[in-house]
Symmetry: C2
Subunit: 396 residues, 2 copies
């Protein structure tokens, strides 16, 4: 068996890796457990490590460590890459392949599987879902999202308090290329009626600069301050991104670079500065902290990520030759999930968006339905203390 990781890291992607490794150890069909370093690039380079030799304490230490421990890559294989990989994999008698990643990685897995069928290479090929963006089709939610959402919620809880202490406009840019789930998770920070974020802009709704300025002015008029959550992927009504496309820097899946720059926040802050008389306008971009912070993760998310890795191995050994592990939520009041094998093509490439039922009518907030959806995924959040503020009557 060969396992690898791909795409953006998450806080719990190693849980899936360790879940798969430990499960594989129970199946006699799998004699060796190899890890490929930096995804499919490691296959092409024959850059393999022997994971069955790692001690249990190392495995468990890696499980709670964020970011892809096998290294990652953003690479879409060509038919020729696939042939090269099969040549190499045959040498090692690799008959099980697991790829932990998002929709691009599912596409990669699908391409490899299709090419393998065409070449009559007998092997089993599985995608294990992960993405903080929570935008995989077929999934109620994806491993990585709950932890990313927890980071975002904690960050907004603190930042709302900061903004309350030194009032002004604070704009925070949150990850999420096409799906607003992670930005929406900022709403979980609210504990008191006047808590921010007061405005939430998602990529599922077109962004109007004029509307944004009017929204901010209204909130500042009401609360004397305004905390704003903005998805990095917001675009205008023509679909043109608000953040200029940075010289067209794209990866091999055609994605434009959005993270790792503070430009969007600065553009929005400058707009408020120019169009209003509001003082103290600031913007922060949460950046990579929201996917790779040490020590912050959702316990539910960590558990599910581990289980997704285990299930992939079970499905591969006992079931179909290929597929993706999807998380489904059981109906009912109590939060419960099941893991299903779904066809690779159902998860590959295209992304899922926030359902309309999760987006408030004004297009600048989420609904209670989203809060109900997301709450069990992030785990219990700390309670923010607040004085009762007993006013001292004016002295004469």
């Amino acid at each position: 068996m060969l396992i690898a990781q791909s795409g953006g890291p998450t806080m719990v992607i190693n849980q899936s890796l360790i879940g798969a490794i430990k499960e594989a150890g129970r199946h006699p069909a799998i004699r060796n457990i190899y890890g490929s370093l930096h995804g499919i690039q490691g296959i092409l380079d024959q850059d393999f490590i022997d994971l069955s030799r790692e001690s249990d304490s190392t495995l468990e230490a890696v499980a709670v460590t964020p970011s892809s421990m096998l290294g990652s890559v953003r690479k879409k294989p060509t038919a020729r890459d696939c042939q090269s990989m099969f040549t190499i994999m045959k040498r090692y008698d690799i008959r099980y392949f697991f790829y932990i990643g998002g929709n691009d990685s599912a596409e990669t897995t699908l391409i490899i599987n299709e090419e393998a069928k065409r070449s009559h290479y007998d092997f089993r090929c599985y995608h294990i879902c992960k993405t903080i963006d929570n935008d995989l089709r077929e999934n109620d939610h994806t491993p990585g999202f709950g932890s990313g959402a927890r980071f975002v919620a904690l960050a907004f809880m603190g930042d709302n308090l900061d903004n309350r202490a030194l009032p002004g406009v604070k704009i925070n840019i949150v990850m999420g290329r096409h799906a607003g789930f992670l930005t929406a998770a900022s709403a979980l920070a609210r504990q008191y009626p006047d808590d921010g974020p007061h405005l939430i802009y998602l990529p599922e709704r077109s962004f109007s600069m004029n509307r944004f300025v009017a929204d901010v002015k209204r909130v500042v008029h009401q609360h004397g301050r305004c905390v704003v959550a903005v998805s990095e992927g917001i675009a205008d009504h023509r679909g043109k991104p608000i953040l200029p496309e940075n010289g067209g820097r794209v990866d091999s899946h055609g994605n434009v670079q959005l993270s790792g720059t503070g430009a969007l926040g600065d553009i929005l802050a400058a707009e408020i500065e120019e169009k209003t008389k509001i003082q103290r306008i600031r913007a922060d971009t949460f950046g990579y902290l929201q996917r790779s912070f040490v020590g912050i993760y959702s316990e539910v998310d960590a558990r599910e990520a581990r289980e997704a890795g285990r299930k992939a191995v079970q499905f591969a050994v006992n079931g179909s030759h290929h597929g993706s592990v999807a998380i489904k939520r059981k109906p009912g009041k109590k939060y419960q999930v099941t893991y299903r094998r779904v066809p690779l093509k159902n998860v590959a490439k295209e992304t899922r968006h926030m359902p309309d039922a999760f987006i408030a009518d004004g297009g600048n907030d989420v609904t209670p339905a989203f809060i109900r959806y997301a709450t069990p995924l992030v785990g219990k959040l700390p309670k923010v203390g607040r004085f009762r503020n007993y006013r001292v009557p004016p002295a004469q």
Copy 2:
């Protein structure tokens, strides 16, 4: 007694507030405990709350909540402001005043105290130290620093793993206007020999763009990647800030806005992009998260912040009429501190810088002496897991 908070929030500034409130409750000389909202602005506006009416459970909930719960302000009082404040304070018979803040707040406390003496207003006036920048004179370190440093260390631990998974150049901008302590704390993230941050730039050393590019190229050559910690306050050999002064936006203490914009990171990333052939260059600015994140704090820092608040009340009731509470480290191997009253003028206005002994000769790293200094302040950090990476021998 009247207490207030001023300047930038920290994760533990409310510990000092609650420490002072609870200590004040034990002294018969203090009959009422009022809080002024938004620092001295709240005095001028007679915006007071009665803190003695808050329940113990509220006090303890506020203590573990980040950011200034009484609200903050950045305002330097004029002599006229002081007279207005005395008129108001006399009406409430306020005879004890405590101001929790950094060097600017110490200056404010000094000004108020000098004006009070001049006006023969009999009252006791204390500054309680706090600042994540750790730049207060007379102090071994300041409450707030340990928690901010812990956040920075955890962030770099995760970001180093992220950069290891998807190699490239990652530049992280850390708070610290004139003092590099917080940026230096990024070094605490290192657990393995190849861990980042690989380069650390502090405001105590002049920043050369050419030198920076050469440093990054060298590290990328060695490690195939590079994580960089940069203080927001870096300036060239003429003292000109690398970050343009943002239209000269300044507060009433004359400080230029540095945080709340991603511009510095983007400038540095663009320079690497332009001058090298390195791929995948990203920049994040940690921004306000590093001072107001919910749930991350150093236990040592929280305890000391609480104690600083308590000591201020004890000094004011039993000792001199004015002063600032400073933290001194006892000599010896075991980490221990004492709290001393120091004159306000010794802490006011001017800041402390990183001692030369903490800065590596090249000016792009810290020394082991800094690590020894900072380690007890942040508390125990989680251990990062890592595979032993047993290489699979090449197959034929």
